[in-house]
Amino acid sequence: MNSMLGVLLRVPLFQLYRKFGWPQLLPVNLTLSPSPKCNSRCLTCNIWMKRENELTIDEWGKVLSSLGKAPFWFTISGGEPLMYPHVVELAQLAYEHCRPGIINIPTNAILPIIPERVERIARSCPESQLIINLSLDGIGEKHDYIRGVKGNFQKFEERLGQLLILRKELKNLIVGIHSVVSTFSIGHLDEIIAYADKSGVDQFITEIAEPRVELDTVGLPITPEPAEYATAIDRLITYVNSKTYHGMSRVTEAIRVEYYKLVKKILDEQDQVIDCYAGWASAQIYANGTVWPCCVRADDLGNLRDYNYDFKEIWFGDKIKEVRRSVAAKECYCPLANASYTNILHDLPTLGRVTSNLVRPHRVPASPPVAVKPASIHQSSELQ
């Protein structure tokens, strides 16, 4: 059942679940945040300041064993997830208990130990696609400024080169670049696209910077104005549509294009636009064991330590009912990419457009929006 087909077969069941509360299902998309600690100092995120009474790796094992084979897609988030000392064991536990189709890990690419940890995860989870997305918010000093770490861009390029070498050996490893489109980066998004185009990565994806309770960014002016975002993202959509992607990256990019269009509508209409399945098909477990429907609202659905680490006790309990009512009543809306992926799969017209994109013939590659200095992509372009 843990294949993309299995996920699609569950779509009508989740639609029933959301509408009628039956049949009861565990989420297909689960984000694990083992620690908020991070060695970046991003302008768009304050999670790195937090300290929590974190779940131990043994506690994570109990939680993951309670989920069975339900989750198809795990994201291991943070903080900086590859800085978390037990990240390899955590991925292995998720694999052992849940056999997910996808394990997705974003990284700031700073620590030298990252390639070794990625390799260990990829080798010990051979039946899962491991997606490592390196964060890139600008080229050179622009990246360092937004991420708050001098020399970050240089480390990014080192890690990118190392991971692209690893990818040659590890068939289940996908290497991507992930960019947060914020008020700080929107002015140079074209430069990032141009860089990504020449970098040799499997996929380039972006996410709009949005306020989140999780990140303690509520009320901060980090989200671009809708019109400015629409103009920038239209150029990205044109670029993505002109490229050819393979395997899982082809699916990711097809969904991502629909996500970009969805974000424009959400910002414009200030509405969910399509039904949100956070709290039914997607969820997050925070470092201290608290279960959230999503990281934007971060409603406290209960702490796994109080429920003998049994996720089902919280997911099928009473407290979540009010949150589900609120989400279904559209008391919230947001452009959170992770939840949007699941939402897109459960919205038939949008899913139809994704499918149509997937089956269309390959197109002639187009040039990226602007040129980029070859010196800044020295390693990765040589590796293609």
Binding site: L43, M49, F184, E210, V218, G219
Partner: protein, 99 residues
């Protein structure tokens, strides 16, 4: 501003007993570690008391000096809708850290 609902929603989240201690500790750490946070502001809830309005008005506190929320006399207790907000270097307000 985008996601206006979230601003209201954030205030309505029930506060844990250690809300003030934990939030201010994180801001303290953020300032010590040279993040782009320059202090903490109080954002009064829609039905807040006069006292919080006075304490919040145009002020940026150092985390060591910020009043504890909920205020001791707050009739709403853990349902108090006033919240802390980090104040960042890039925000338009001139930084005038108190304390």
């Amino acid at each position: 501003m985008t996601l206006d609902w979230l601003t209201k929603f954030h205030g309505r989240l029930k506060k844990s007993r250690d809300y003030a201690e934990k939030t201010l500790a994180s801001y303290r750490l953020g300032m010590r570690a040279k993040g782009s946070i320059i202090g903490v502001a109080l954002r009064p809830g829609p039905n807040c008391c006069e006292q919080i309005k006075e304490l919040a008005e145009g002020k940026i506190y150092h985390p060591d000096e910020a009043p504890y929320l909920p205020l001791p006399d707050c009739p709403r207790g853990s349902n108090c809708e006033c919240v802390y907000r980090p104040v960042m270097t890039y925000q338009e307000r001139e930084p005038q850290v108190k304390g």
